[in-house]
Symmetry: D2
Subunit: 377 residues, 4 copies
């Protein structure tokens, strides 16, 4: 497919993530001229009229309501899945089997089981030249790529400790209403799946190491909330804590919560090595604090220099990027992989690895915090 | 024109600002669904082949090399001028006289004379329903609009002092090469026109007051630089300082420079009133520090709440915006004005007012810092 | 004793803490005019000549080398113990039994056993009007007292999460030499006793709650170091992590380390309640960040206003205090209690409670992180 | 004098500065063991009973009410003047003529005339081995000494721009009462003498250059205040601004005010050189931000390492100093100079130089901002 014409893309899902991914496909060629040409073919979502309107505004040629018909189209080469987690497996597997390259928004799935099945299909598809990727978009924050490069270069020495927290506050109000996000059957978990998935992926990404064991626990502070049908039990966690041990002997502390009053979207990461250290906060995502001389302290780098990761595609020094630019760079990387046939990253195997860590946190919590080993592929 | 069809836009200029403005037109409808529909008709720049390529990547239907032919086209309703300052007047006047709505990138012009002529033409056009605006895009930074609203609400009491600085460092290196930007005949001035124009506009915007007198001076620290033709005199300023007095009795200190080693794009603004204060820095443009209780100090607000200016169009709390989003919001505001027929803001009169302040700084500098009155329309 | 004359004080120990406590006694009356008058009677340390010199410079009337003779003197009313932890119990018990008021530098002891014995003696002494206190000096940081008051006032609502870390880096260098501080027999533990003792005390202090269960672990990253006698095993922890659950249902995450390259003395504390939040860092100990309006964010308070805790004793607003001022305020509080006969705080019972939490962290670590209940008196 | 016995010190004045200087003399030997031994001989202030009480608490052997009798005493070797500015000249001249070493709190005097007379007497005294110093205590902030050393080392290249502001807010409230500080006859000037004196001294200190010309102005925002005798005109400035040009070709912008709502004691200083830069704020006086690699940005140094200026005298890394520690270090430096016979710094000549700059700001203000040359000795 796609000989001599732009790659046709379909986005499935038009809510928050559908908006963010549409933005990426609309802008990717403006900033990344060297990626394969691309055409925003079709936006898929449930409501026909609303989707037609959104498709027009978001730059899509067409709208559709049934993802099954879309993955059968010859003019669709890439399927980008922006649905709730429990629907990821079905659509991704069908699309891969239909020969479409697949990008799945994080987390890869709601369970280890689903993730394992998806990986099997993805690996089979890979044999036929069909690629897949999971959308941990923070791997495209320039400051975090620079952080990863610094770790990999050895400038920090041996990494011993990582301190990662993802703090939000949108459930701090006990009167916030019950939604599907607080029910286990639809959401799988709470802060754990939503926030810790990013945090765990960053630990793996920054260190280039696997998580091999976990001690952790979770807590639900507000145990009942009022929804459309009255008062109801909250069946997912509000917050989770864990200590992760990595294949390289580092220890990472992890704290995620939706109850951190005053914190909106604070994914903070600190990495301490024998010779240097790093600090980052997503609320100021253009900055990376770097310590390479312990006596001197941390240098606040504004990561907006042309020679820094991704930055050259955008604006001059000091002209900061926003949260959504990470999706555009993610699309660029996926297109580049499709063009070259190289393995895109992070892979479904990475998505599964994260899922196993999250499951281990839950298991450890159920066993009073006892250490749980994590299977590493 | 534009009955029953989207407004046709032409951008003239394809360099840094052409890229930023193209981005705005490509995305404006995705985020601002209520603005008049718009079509990216034509991108105009000198090199035919390069412009064709850019036009394709930036989302334009066509490319052209002669702005004169473009402003005569019936399918072009809006002309957006992204050329160097000394070319603004000619294109803007021609476009307005051709009945096109005109957006001019800041500064409005390189001289008070040119700006005055442009204003006359714009006012005449206004009589015929043709609108004009000058692109001080920082008026669309959510934090700065919130700042303006706080001042206007009286929460800060009487504003007494403003402290504004715009610090960059791209000329700190004495070996940086000579370019047209360091020659008076092409650039008009140095940091003064480039950086102080933004700073002065913000003083006027935030306070809703005019600047009535100025004492100031300029300096060129590196007086000769090497260009393509060898060593050459630098004939514009590297830095400028001024004390501005406003119609409301406030005093604003101003410092702008391209020699502030380590500062990339730091437009910092502090406003001190009798009952409260504000602080802002463009390098962290999603934040506004607000003091409304002197004993308590400054509150760092992450200006990403849905009810804050412009924010609702974008992403959830804590998902920060970048520098380029201001241009998209600027395009939305211009389109809204075109749709309603209301006066867009900032007007050419605002552009002229800024130009007069900059001219007064130069005049004061030539007179050893003596106070110079500024004409207020 | 001490009828009609100043209270006589003896400090036992002349190293780092002896210097800090001497500074406190020398200055306490200058800043706290209402405390009982005090006389710096005698400084006790091992080396006679060095102690004479230090005594003269630190403002002591006399020097001595044997603490036993000192606690028998009639002109000594207060014994302030600044010795290594394993010597605390013996001196404190003897002094209390001799009828002296006793201040013991933290941690109260190296083990739960010792601490329990000290508490028994202290309670008996209390019956005879003899007072005792443990020197958790950070309870006298104005910002932390203000924090405690804010929690107690209910302004933050129900506290759900606390995030506390104490990060230093003086052992990050694997070539740093072996000392008694890295041997279990002399130091008891590593970062746990030294740093976590402060951190746990702050959790109890700020929340006014007990720690009721603990899951945790420790790690020694550099397992052998070279000392005077060659390469030797490090037998204490370099770092520790724990999740603490409190009597009020809050969860506190704890991380302490001497390996956090670039962090010198960073005791950072965040408290998240249902209606507000706090943040503090000892490296900037004059500041407290307070959130009482989640939409507005955190207000950086410079805690230097006259009506804030302890501040009135010192300097005008904005004139910051140093680390050592906390000891002077601690001495003032102890003197005030002696004057009034009221119970000083923190008591030996507080010291014991901290010791039990530290022991529980070690026990949990030995049991793969399993939850350990903590005895609460 | 002072053969074989400690140097006898008298402090004249017991208010804010008398308290701060008493603290310095009381503690200097504890932290600086190598300075000449010193005895707190006598505290001089108007009210006999209050002074007796303060003398006892502040560690003075005696109290007195008449400075004239004190400067005649043989057991007084050092006179430290902590009186309001208009009394400095008389006491300093008398003390120097009586052969006493004299430390004068800043500013040296209220006028250039007085300062010139004091310098003549000081230079004559110097011939007889009698020393004098002016108390610009911020020259003893470790971070600022480190800053001065960095500039002197050439690490920043040629200094081109300095940005200095001293912002307080204690007069922001228009209802704050009239005091002697707002009357020209007693205070000489307002923010100018009080705050700009420190700021100008730092420009001279950090750069090691003279100020050679000044353009500036002042403003009184609240022109009438109510005092004990009813409504009264404020006859000093609330705020002042200036541009200073230095002997080395640098330009320093200066802004000082008592109306900066929310700022308590913010002396902020930025220094921009051709190869590096510095930033400092007195509200966080243990920190210095240093840029020596423009692409990397600013490194926040916690200036608490033992090998940094003054720090070795105090506490381990990360244990921060307060505002008052600067006075103790100042006393140590003066004592060291007395011991060695070397010229102490800053001298009365430095005090006069600052005074001349302040007078030039006033003169320039009176001449509509016109540039005024400053006499350099």
């Amino acid at each position: 497919m796609a000989e001599g014409r732009p790659l046709g893309v379909a986005v499935v899902g038009s809510a928050f993530m559908g908006k963010a991914h549409s933005n990426a496909w609309r802008n990717v060629r403006a900033f990344y001229p060297d990626v394969p040409d691309v055409r925003q073919q079709v936006l898929v979502a449930r409501d026909a009229e609303a989707t037609r309107d959104l498709a027009a505004r978001y730059g899509w040629a067409e709208a559709a309501t049934d993802w099954r018909t879309v993955i059968d189209r010859d003019d669709v080469d890439v399927v980008d899945i922006c649905l709730p987690g429990h629907l990821h497996a079905e659509v991704a597997i069908a699309a891969l089997e239909a020969g479409k390259h697949v990008l799945v928004e994080k987390p890869l799935a709601n369970s280890v089981d689903e993730a394992e099945k998806m990986l099997v299909v993805a690996q089979a598809a890979r044999e036929r030249g069909v690629l897949s990727m999971v959308g941990f978009n923070y791997r495209r924050v320039p400051a975090l790529v620079l952080a990863r490069d610094l770790v990999a270069s050895g400038r920090l020495g041996d990494v011993r400790q990582v301190k990662v927290a993802y703090l939000q506050d949108w459930l701090a109000d006990a009167d916030a209403p019950m939604t599907w996000r607080m029910r286990k059957e639809t959401a799988g978990s709470g802060a754990l799946g939503d926030l810790a998935s990013h945090a765990v992926d960053q630990v793996r990404f920054l260190l280039g190491q696997d998580v091999v064991s976990v001690s952790g626990s979770t807590e639900t502070f507000v145990r009942r909330r009022t929804g459309a049908d009255g008062l109801e039990d909250v069946t997912v966690d509000d917050a989770a804590w864990a200590t992760l041990r990595t294949s390289g002997g580092a220890v990472a502390s992890l704290e995620v919560t939706r109850m951190a009053t005053g914190r909106k979207n604070s994914l903070s990461i600190e990495v301490y090595g024998s010779e240097g250290a790093l600090a980052f906060d997503l609320e100021a995502l253009n900055e990376l604090s770097v310590c390479t001389d312990p006596a001197a302290g941390f240098t606040r780098r504004l990561v907006t220099e042309a020679d820094q990761p991704y930055v050259g595609a955008w604006w001059p020094p000091g002209h900061i990027l926003g949260w959504d630019h990470t999706f555009t760079s993610q699309a660029a990387d996926f297109l580049t992989a499709i063009g070259s046939g190289d393995e895109p990253s992070p892979s479904f195997a990475d998505g599964l690895a994260v899922q196993r860590v999250l499951a281990a946190v839950e298991e450890s919590g159920a066993r009073s915090g006892e250490l749980v080993d994590v299977e590493v592929s």
